[in-house]
Symmetry: C2
Subunit: 410 residues, 2 copies
């Protein structure tokens, strides 16, 4: 079955993907199609590549300066203003290498071992690892299933927050559900944070990846009281597909908050960002939007295709279309598979997905599927999965189905 | 006056330096020749450039893997074995972005505010900033002037160490003096650290840059007792001139030491190194030595030239030839200049040097000169300095001398 849009120049073939040396295409044997870690199988925006080539052609690897140029902090502030009507203060930006580093730093700065930290499960697994490694306590506020989408359960959270709950982590757009939280949902969280004196960590890294009709509400725009306790963490790496370049930032909603943070975490403890990551990020934020608009067209078609295919070919799999991100969250509980769904699809479909069990206590029956890829590769991923389920239902002995599939169109 | 070796292909012209966007050539107005921050005016080794171009040509900016390739940790261990007869454990390596981040992390992990930290002043200024920002106390063990070189003063240190002195920082080769500490000097430090239960931080980033006849002794090779309390911090960025790529590492001399460290500093708090920095560093350590050998020939000639010039044209300036590094430490106290020497040479010679005052309490009369540049640029730097001193002695009114200099040979 053909994808619903034509092939775009940024879509990489399987061969081009395999020529790369990253995690996504090298974790599994070569007969496995990877649809797990949040890398897209797309070449980067032309302005990013040009910025990197400019630097590499000069061999310009010395201590950075970029005097008289638009800084990382300014490029960030200008993009937030332009895209979301938010005016962050460039002076309150702390560059870091990536968001998990930022989360660790906030946990250490604003809580003690045993203190509670709110998260909405299912959630990006490194968040849970960060709690475990720092001996913080998960105050789990699971997303509630409304039947057609997941929603925030503010009443549940209000019951669970105690006096030792110090930090509220909000992942919005939410990974892995793809929910774009609405103003009222965010306000319920923010007001509770003010009431119970919690620091807010707003992970907004997926805000670049919203589908038509959705609007990203920046946590720090809700009210001055909420803003002053909010640390926004974000990066161009997700939307613009440059995670290996390691450039992200934290924005503190008030100088007081930053000073409290610095008492535990001096700036230089967080290291410094490499010049290529900075140049690439500035180029992405300033000049990458036309590329991202084209990418969103591909992702939007893929999102529709996943929903359509799951409904038609994977009956019993529960799936709500994401409102943002290129991640599909699939509950396979009703399939009654002989092993965990991630293991089943890896072994029987030769498709590498993220295991739902890593995302929280109630997600063992789920997988996360990354559809940030070409229409052709996505089609092959989906067909392999459906064939494996059909074979399993027919009492198949687990023979791989991929050999009967046509070659991947690339 | 001509330099003593011919121009090498890696030596950049002034125009090529100015085309770059780094700190070194952009801090000062364009009529100033910069000889300050420890960047060399050289293009990088071919294997480094090739490694970066390989990655950039593929646009390979995803989450890194490098499965089946030589890792950063292994490349480090192999180089240490090959160059210094040291066999560090790749399992005990923690990648970081740069050495000051590493130093901050050790200060926070192994001491409390008010605790003592030993350093040999004059010392690389960010070390002193790290103490101030973390409210640690400098236990100053200044290098002693032997008349022809600086030496470690172990008796002074023994008198100064108290029960709250927790950490001994050893910068070897020493920045800014250029001393390559000898086994006996290091042993005196190491044994005192064992005796007084201090953690040792061995900054060995300049070990790539030793002049003929010198031998680098790795602190962690002195004895098992010393090794087990030693954190070695190093990077390819200094020897191979890639500081903007931000890739460094810490090596813990025992698993126990690393576990103690992790109780305060979880690995992910330190962030992750970008893929370009890793690829460049692996290429440098595995394949960069022929380039470095050629660079050392240029640096060696420059080192001789600085000594010769200072003796002949800057009488009264005290200077001992460095045994390693491309840094010359010049005590200008006897010149009796009208302002601090760094300010004088900036204003009157239009040469940017590091101000000795930043290196410790007794270095106000000193400057640090970076001679990691072409013979032509070095010659111009030195001649400008001498002319400014001559003009000052002649009762000159501070008119710039550079206009009477010939154009820079590049």
């Amino acid at each position: 079955m053909e994808s619903t849009t034509s092939v775009q120049p940024f879509e990489l073939s399987v061969e081009a993907c395999r020529a790369r040396r990253g995690t996504k295409w090298n974790k599994y044997p070569s007969d496995v199609l990877p649809a797990w870690v949040a890398d897209m199988d797309f070449s980067v925006a032309e302005p990013i590549q040009e910025a990197i080539e400019r630097l590499v052609n000069l061999g310009d690897y010395g201590y950075g300066a970029r005097l008289g140029e638009v800084s990382l902090e300014t490029a960030f502030a200008e993009r937030m203003e332009r895209r979301f009507g938010w005016s962050p203060d460039p002076e309150q930006v702390q560059p870091v290498s990536e968001l998990i580093q930022a989360l660790f730093s906030v946990l250490l700065a604003f809580s003690e071992p045993g203190d509670g930290v709110v998260m909405q499960t299912p959630i990006y697994p490194p968040f849970l690892v960060a709690l475990a490694q720092t001996e913080r306590r998960l105050v789990d506020n699971p997303l509630a299933d409304e039947g057609s989408r997941f929603v925030l359960d503010a009443a549940d959270l209000r019951r669970k927050v105690d006096d030792r709950t110090r930090i509220l982590v909000v992942c919005n757009p939410h990974n892995p559900s793809g929910r774009v939280l609405e103003r009222e949902e965010l306000l319920a969280l923010g007001e509770l944070a003010v009431e119970r004196d919690m620091v807010i960590v707003a992970d907004e890294i997926h805000a670049d990846l919203l589908y038509s009709g959705r609007r990203h509400v920046v946590m720090a725009t809700l009210s001055p009281e909420i803003a002053s306790r909010t640390i926004t963490i974000t990066s161009a790496t997700k939307g613009f597909n440059i995670p290996g370049l390691r450039c992200a930032l934290m924005h503190f909603g008030s100088p007081e908050l930053r000073e409290r943070f610095r008492r535990t975490i001096p700036d230089r403890l967080l290291g410094q960002v490499n010049v290529i990551g900075i140049d690439a990020t500035v180029a992405a934020w300033r000049h990458g939007q036309p590329w991202l608009d084209r990418v969103m067209t591909r992702l939007s078609a893929n999102r529709e295709r996943v929903a359509e295919f799951v409904a038609a070919e994977l009956p019993g799999v529960r799936h709500y279309q994401p409102e943002a991100t290129y991640l599909a969250w699939l509950d396979c509980g009703a399939l009654d598979l002989p092993s965990s769904p991630a293991e089943f699809f890896l072994e029987q479909a030769r498709v590498g997905l993220n295991d739902g069990a890593d995302f929280g206590p109630a997600s063992q029956s789920c997988v996360r599927l990354n559809f940030g890829t070409s229409g052709a590769i996505l089609e092959e991923v989906l067909e392999r999965m459906a064939a494996a389920v059909r074979a399993s239902r027919a009492g198949g002995n687990g023979t791989r189905q991929s050999s009967s599939r046509p070659p991947i169109r690339s």
